[in-house]
């Protein structure tokens, strides 16, 4: 009997040691970024916080300017109504990176050993940032959200995302990118426990030089709830009725 209890205690101690070593593995990699976060606009970004990373269009190449001219976004200086847009997000494609940050919905960060997960409420979009030292995949076709790997530099999570398709926009104002897009992020907590994300955009096909943007988030005690993009289809019908309203037809 005593022997069985000793074995049981031994097993419990072993289990505790194993679990604490797992926790230690997460703890030793920078700050704990876990939690639900909502956009907390930096003052200078308020006018465009829901649609762009910067207040003016980035420095585009002729290749990008041609595509930008064809874009019909629902935000920004050349915005159109939803029924006229060619924004791929309205067809329920993934928003892409970094555009997903511009949609005004919260996201949850979950840190696990070897991986940081970003769960975006918007259409339940998930980013998996591998922090286990692996290289980028080269065997998969280009992706909507890209392939993200990260590492810790002190308390900062440094993320590199590549292998994008060229079907998404950088922002919600129609700025395009190519499949050569490389998104670099430095993610850290500021002194007030807000989440800061410094974003650098590199794409030699679309931009004449690299450019940057910054997002800030504050902690909230919310749950990530359901938001399905396909619900937008019903709303588009509602807006179409408004746009095509004929006052004489209802007299």
């Amino acid at each position: 009997m005593l022997q069985r209890e000793t074995m049981l205690i031994g097993a419990l101690v072993t289990a505790l040691m194993l679990s604490s070593s797992l926790f230690a593995q997460t703890d030793e990699h920078g700050d704990d970024l876990s939690g639900v976060w909502t956009n907390f606009a930096i003052e200078a970004s308020r006018p465009f916080q829901n649609s762009a990373l910067r207040g003016d269009p980035p420095p585009m190449t002729a290749w990008a300017q041609e595509r930008y001219a064809q874009a019909k976004p629902t935000f920004g200086s050349k915005s159109v109504a939803v029924v006229e847009t060619n924004d791929p997000v309205y067809d329920c494609f993934r928003p892409g990176t970094p555009r997903i940050y511009l949609h005004p919905f919260p996201m949850e960060i979950i840190q696990t050993p070897g991986r940081v997960l970003m769960l975006f409420e918007y259409d339940h979009t998930v980013r998996q940032i591998y922090t286990d030292g692996r290289e980028h995949r080269t065997d998969l076709a280009p992706m909507w959200m890209g392939d993200a790997t990260g590492h810790w530099e002190g308390e900062t999570l440094v993320v590199e995302t590549v292998n994008f398709n060229d079907k998404t926009w950088i922002d919600r104002e129609g700025v395009p990118h190519s499949d050569q897009l490389r998104v670099l992020e430095r993610i850290q907590l500021d002194e007030d426990d807000n989440l800061l994300i410094d974003i650098t955009i590199e794409d030699p096909v679309a931009f004449t030089e690299s450019w940057t943007g910054q997002r800030r988030y504050r902690r909230v005690d919310w749950n990530i709830e359901e938001f399905a993009c396909m619900d937008n289809v019903g709303f588009a019908e509602y807006e179409e009725e408004i746009l095509n309203y004929d006052p004489n037809a209802t007299q």
């Binding site: 829901n50 629902t74 109504a81 938001f227 709303f235 408004i242 746009l243 309203y245």
Partner: protein, 133 residues
């Protein structure tokens, strides 16, 4: 059900209103942001659904004609998370058919009886969104 005579009034948007409209989701090209219209009537339908909450009310104009107005708000999730400013939090039950309410917002450019809502006042006179009276 008694339908109040609608008070339909336009005034220049000179006030800095708490923006809770739909612009965060899809822009607002369908609406004239430079105008605000206020209408009062009984709730005919309340849809607490994604991507935008829709409120419908029956409004009787000066000539006695009843017109159904609609108003759109932000997402239901966003409303449920914010303090409504009244005694209740926003939920799928906060408005009931027949409630006499007042809607203020930017009118549709097409002339359709639809608003991008800036303010909702419930049957008790409480501003559920858009600040105090």
């Amino acid at each position: 059900m008694i339908r109040k005579i609608a008070s339909v009034s336009c005034f220049a948007l000179g006030l800095l209103l708490f923006v809770v409209g739909a612009s965060a989701h899809h822009g607002g090209a369908a609406y004239d942001g430079s105008q605000t219209i206020t209408v009062t009537g009984a709730v005919t339908k309340f849809e607490f659904i994604n991507p935008h909450v829709l409120i419908y009310i029956a409004v009787t104009d000066e000539s006695g004609k009843v017109v159904e107005w609609s108003g759109e708000l932000t997402t239901p999730i966003r409303l449920a998370r914010m303090d409504s400013g009244g005694a209740e939090k926003w939920s799928k039950d906060i408005l009931q058919p027949g409630d006499e309410i007042t809607l203020s917002g930017n009118p549709a450019r097409s002339g359709a009886p639809s608003l991008r809502l800036r303010k909702v006042i419930d049957s008790h006179g409480v501003a559920l969104i858009g600040g105090t009276n």
